[in-house]
């Protein structure tokens, strides 16, 4: 308990950063992943190829590599100067979006073809068919795996400590420097993550219940 109480500020600011990083990357990856899924089912071959190439690259690259790229290689490209936090967010978004894309796409595949046909027959274009009819039903059917992807993202934020974004995954380093008991300190960190995941699980259950009437 001493480890936690003595370093409460450390824990709070670290988990604050974790939460912030997670929220930014969660929203970003859900948006980008959904757009990618839309590309992968679009009638335009080039867009489809781009979507599948993107997934192939980012799903098959270890996250540490993606983040190291943004930490060390990106500044050498001398493009836009971004903070460590921004670069960590971009890396997490790009990586996680590939997984979101595949989950959403599998959701799209569960929507019967007749739904899209009825929508087209009413005069909806491709975009409206997707946003009004197909995606809402697709997302409803993939709430559990989508939650899993987001939980994985939450835990993946710890890798960002590899390059100077101080968050929960970096607490142990400070503790060990101070000579505190790192083992106990890490137990508190894992408890922290359990507490952070709980609302996600709760949200998943809520959404599943609310949307269960739909079909």
């Amino acid at each position: 308990m001493d480890v936690l109480v003595d370093n409460l500020d450390l824990y709070l600011s670290a988990f604050g950063q974790t939460i912030l990083l997670f929220l930014v990357a969660a929203v970003g990856s859900l948006v980008l992943g959904t757009v990618l899924a839309a590309l992968r089912v679009s009638p335009v071959p080039i867009l489809r190829s781009f979507g599948s190439a993107y997934v192939t690259v980012f799903r098959n690259t270890p996250l540490t590599l993606v983040l190291f790229f943004f930490a060390f290689a990106y500044p050498r490209l001398e493009l836009v100067d971004l903070s460590f936090f921004a670069r960590a967010s971009v890396g997490l978004i790009l990586y996680t979006a590939a997984f979101v894309c595949e989950v959403v796409r599998s959701g799209i595949n569960t929507v019967p073809v007749g739904q899209a046909e009825a929508s087209r027959a009413l005069g909806f274009g491709f975009g409206q068919t997707l946003t009004q009819v197909v995606l809402p039903q697709a997302v409803r059917s993939v709430v559990p795996p989508l939650t899993s992807v987001q939980i994985a993202l939450l835990k993946n934020t710890t890798i960002a400590s590899g390059f100077s974004v101080f968050q929960a995954g970096g607490i142990y380093a400070v503790l060990s420097e101070q000579g505190d008991n790192v083992f106990i300190g890490l137990l508190w960190v894992s408890l922290g993550f359990l507490i952070l995941v709980a609302p996600l699980t709760l949200l998943q259950r809520r959404l599943e219940n609310r949307w269960s009437v739909a079909r």
Binding site: P43, P112, A121, L122, G123, Q132, W211, A214, R215
Partner: protein, 249 residues
């Protein structure tokens, strides 16, 4: 711009293949405004495909299809605009599963016709009233019986104020006791002067409501006659054979 003499639907020399299968062979068919045409034929004869080519849910290989004097455009905005004027009712209803019945009926008018929500709901409720399911308006499709769902689907198509209605086997997925409630709605619609092309196995409906019966077999239109002529005096062997099979018991 409906000018006298322009048919609502015109199909000329239409051909279509599914791989090796020649599903539509040199189809020539005109449907005049206000006419009710019933398409009959054994399964696999291409009648559903014919119905689905008219709003280009199935593209064709060659030939021309016109709706109200306009050639079917290629996929895109113009085609969407044309589809909005052509109502379609499917065998499997295809109501939007995540929307209530009222939302199903108002979604098209709001998003495609840009009607106000209030207007769309007023008109939608009137249509649900007309097909007899206004009291179900807040339920989801899965909570309704098949007959109710199909009537909602008809209301959804009518909400777009279409020039012509296509029915692709509207009663084939229904339990027998629910067939009539759907046919009643369709018969009323026919009497009100709606232009309709109906693919069905309901001979009673064909006799009662159709102006013309088109009989298809193996992708061809084999007969095109008034219902009483077709049922009492089919000229082709294939039609005689078909009628013999379905009317003998």
């Amino acid at each position: 711009m409906t000018t006298a003499g322009t048919p609502m639907i015109r199909m000329a020399a239409v051909d279509k293949h599914f791989g090796d299968l020649h599903v539509l062979r040199d189809i020539n068919l005109d449907v005049e405004s206000g006419q009710v045409v019933v398409v009959l034929g054994p399964s696999g004869s291409g009648k559903s495909t014919l119905c689905r080519t008219i709003n280009r849910l199935e593209p064709i290989d060659s030939g021309t299809i016109q709706v109200d004097g306009t050639d079917l455009p290629a996929e895109g905005k113009a085609l969407a605009g044309l589809r909005a004027d052509v109502g379609m009712v499917f065998q499997s209803f295809n109501l939007f599963a995540h929307k209530t019945i009222l939302e199903n009926v108002t979604l098209g008018p709001i998003k495609v016709r840009k009607d106000s929500k209030a207007d769309a709901e007023k008109n939608g409720l009137a249509l649900l009233e007309r097909v007899g399911i206004a009291n179900q308006k807040d339920k989801y499709p899965a909570q309704l019986s098949g007959g109710q769902q199909q009537r909602a689907a008809i209301a959804r198509a009518l909400a777009m104020k279409p020039k012509v209605m296509l029915f692709d086997e509207p009663t084939s997925a229904l339990d027998p006791e629910m067939v009539n409630e759907v046919l009643d709605v369709m018969t009323t619609l026919a009497k009100e002067g709606m232009t309709m092309l109906v693919v069905t196995h309901e001979m009673g409906f064909a006799r009662r409501a159709a102006h013309r019966v088109v009989f298809m077999s193996d992708g061809e239109i084999v007969e095109d006659a008034k219902p009483e002529e077709f049922f009492s005096n089919p000229t082709s062997d294939r039609a005689k054979d078909f009628l013999g099979k379905i009317l003998s018991h």
